[in-house]
Amino acid sequence: MPLKAAVITFPGSNCDRDMAVAIEAVTGATPARIWHGDAQLPTGLDFIALPGGFSYGDYLRAGAMAAKSPIMRAVVEAAERGIAVLGVCNGFQVLCESGLLPGALMRNAGQRFVCRTVALEVGNTASPFTHGFADGEVIRVPIAHHDGNYFADTATLDRLEGEDRIAFRYAEECNGSQRRIAGIVSENGRVLGMMPHPERAIEPAAHRAMGSADGRRVFENLVGSLISA
């Protein structure tokens, strides 16, 4: 059975189409496109993606308004039922603001928008999104953000490390994130938030333009885990 996915679009999302194209390219199934004002998700979903962008113009704080939108109540409920959720860039900010992931994403320490392809160290190989990677493997994925500086208190950071929940770390410091955190997973591993854009590194053309097609593997891992489940 094909994977049943949904991509949420908030006003100001701008990577929702890329996300939908990436999901379709890897899974072969067209994801449902859901608007932020919808109160319900389609039934029988396997996977929900929160795309990058500038939802609600980053008003108040990046992701803060989107986290309170009607559809997010349904996404939180779905995540609590164990449905896989991926938040990329602004989607990661929304996941933190909604409480599905701990911590917060602040303005980059260098104050500048950073946009380049970076090396990431894989730190978790147990989640549906990362099980196909080798521990410590280095992959390359593009980043493009102004507010990607991950912050959490020391106790939370220690817990994330202790529970192997740091999915990806920047191989080199690039935005001031504590412990070079680029992506984390929830306690049950089924919610992944990451600042880098795997959906932009899917096809051979992306490999030529962005220097990597490693992002594809995040989606392939997910498909693999859902098929074997």
């Binding site: 108040l60 704080r61 803060a64 309170k68 933190c96 603001e97 701990p102 911590g103 917060a104 602040m106 303005r107 980059n108 320490a109 260098g110 104050q111 500086n149 912050f151 959490a152 208190d153 001031g176």
Partner: protein
């Protein structure tokens, strides 16, 4: 009823914006600036009698991110006395 909410980064949380502004003040030749921290001022006009508890809940649920920010709530006394019609 007018309420003024001040949202500030917690002490110890790095404030890149504040640091950049500090740098600019130094560049303009202002001496003796030891630190700059940038926060957010939110003014609400709410129904008379809105409880402190409700206001606190607004801050915790939306207006502030308590992972990185503290907030203070100031209820302004008579808000129409000095206003021009």
């Amino acid at each position: 009823m007018k309420v003024r909410i001040l949202v500030r980064l917690k002490p110890g949380v790095l404030d890149p914006q504040g640091r950049a502004v500090h740098h600019s003040l130094d560049g303009l030749g202002f001496e003796g600036v030891n630190d700059v921290r940038i926060g957010r001022l939110i003014e609400l006009d709410v129904a008379p009698g809105t409880s402190q508890e409700t206001l606190k809940s607004m801050c915790e649920k939306l207006l502030a991110n308590t992972v990185i920010e503290d907030f203070t709530i100031e209820t302004l006394a008579s808000d129409n006395a000095g206003e021009c019609a």
